[in-house]
């Protein structure tokens, strides 16, 4: 039971952390809860589909289908987060000001709706497909399934609880600061996702690693540990990354960060114009 609990918890944790952050980052978006719920439903449907088609996915592109799929999903989610962050850099402060004066029924924009829905669905699909395959394995192995299923449910609950705690914690951040704080966290999440997406392309041999291992911190912080997994979801932590992955992270971070700063300055300039 403990084994199943730990396995499911670890998978749920990664998705829950991402969902907790993005849900908090769209404070004031009407129907936020329903959008997250819809994203989770789409994600579960996608996870079931991926799990049942894993044979076909594996055989695709000379046996590199799984890597391609992982790369596409991570890069899509990463780009979605990056786009939202850049958009929010310009509109976030404006929204914060309006939210404070008008209350929670302010339209936060379609960017936030799409981001919340898609990123939630992709996160659930990615981690959920592994849970689905693990549970399928339990079902066909014929061992005592009740303790394993109990463990899985507890793991799911525990993972979801961590996401909720993160969401609740971020929601307590004052509105003026919230968009800055969540923007910073999302900048790290997006860079990590894009870099891990690129790492999948290296794994499949589509990109050269340049240097296979730039450093090895697995003795310090194992990638399989809970902290390691959490940092993997939040900043893209990998114990022994290739140079290509490190460069992809740095490039993503610099590119998204620069665009955020540029947009934020454009907003400030416009504000100054209006004030004059």
């Amino acid at each position: 039971m403990i084994g199943a609990l730990v396995i499911v918890f670890r998978e749920v944790l990664e998705a829950a952390l991402v969902i907790g952050v993005v849900a908090a980052a769209v404070e004031g978006l009407p129907g936020r809860g329903r959008l997250v719920a819809a994203g989770i439903v789409f994600g579960i449907a996608g996870a079931a589909l991926v799990a049942s088609a894993i044979g076909a996915i594996s055989r695709f592109a000379g046996g590199t289908g799984q890597e391609l799929f992982g790369a596409v999903v991570l890069c899509a989610a990463g780009l979605m987060l990056a786009w939202h962050n850049i958009w929010m850099a310009e509109h976030g402060r404006e929204m914060a000001a309006r939210l404070k004066s008008l209350g929670a029924d302010v339209v936060a924009g379609r960017a936030s709706v799409a981001m919340l829905l898609v990123v939630t669905a992709l996160a659930v699909m990615r981690e959920g497909s592994e849970i689905a395959m693990f549970l399928y394995g339990i079902a066909v192995s014929g061992v005592r399934t009740i303790p394993l299923l109990t463990g899985s449910v507890l793991g799911l609950a525990a993972g979801a609880a961590v996401g909720l705690v993160l969401f609740a914690g971020l929601s307590r951040v004052p509105l003026q600061r919230l968009f800055q704080v969540s923007g910073a966290i999302i900048l790290f999440i997006a860079s990590g996702m894009l870099a891990r997406g690129i790492a999948f392309l290296v794994q499949a041999g589509y990109l050269p690693p340049l240097v296979p291992q730039v450093w090895d911190s697995s003795a310090l912080l194992s990638g399989g540990s809970l902290v390691g997994r959490s940092l993997s979801a939040l900043v893209g932590y990998t114990p022994a990354p290739s140079l290509m992955q490190v460069l992809a992270w740095l490039f993503s971070f610099a590119a998204i960060g620069t665009l955020m700063l540029a947009r934020s300055e454009r907003f400030a300039a416009r504000r100054a114009e209006v004030a004059n």
């Binding site: 594996s58 592994e130 794994q203 296979p212 399989g224």
Partner: protein, 117 residues
């Protein structure tokens, strides 16, 4: 007649080129790894350092397994009763761990041996 005059040298050149390129880019060696009852057989694989090696992971179970390594960054689901190629390396000599993420108690060791000169 003019055609056949050039045909053989041309053919020879093509064959020679093919031979050279085949020797230069030696295809990655296939290393078999079996999964039975969610455990690896053998538990230890030995591969040469400094080159890409194709590990063919064959899952004999009905249940899927996941070949994963934090040490050499691989994460591949092996569906039930199928084989999936996993390209590894080039790695430096040393010991690298891998495990079945769906049954993490089942581990294995990749031994990367220094290349003989």
């Amino acid at each position: 007649m003019t055609r056949s005059k050039y045909l053989f040298p041309l053919l020879g050149a093509v064959l020679a080129l093919a031979g050279i390129s085949a020797a230069a880019a030696a295809p990655p060696q296939d290393v078999p790894l079996m999964i039975r009852n969610q455990a690896f057989q053998p538990r230890t694989l030995t591969i040469p350092a400094g080159r890409t090696v194709k590990i063919v992971v064959t899952n004999r179970d009905v249940a899927p397994a996941e070949f994963e390594s934090n040490d050499f960054n691989r994460e591949v689901v092996i569906p039930g009763q199928s084989a999936v190629p996993v390209y590894v390396g080039p790695l430096k000599p040393g010991k690298y761990g891998f495990f079945n993420d769906f049954h993490p108690e089942n581990t294995g060791t990749l031994l990367v041996a220094p290349e003989r000169r």
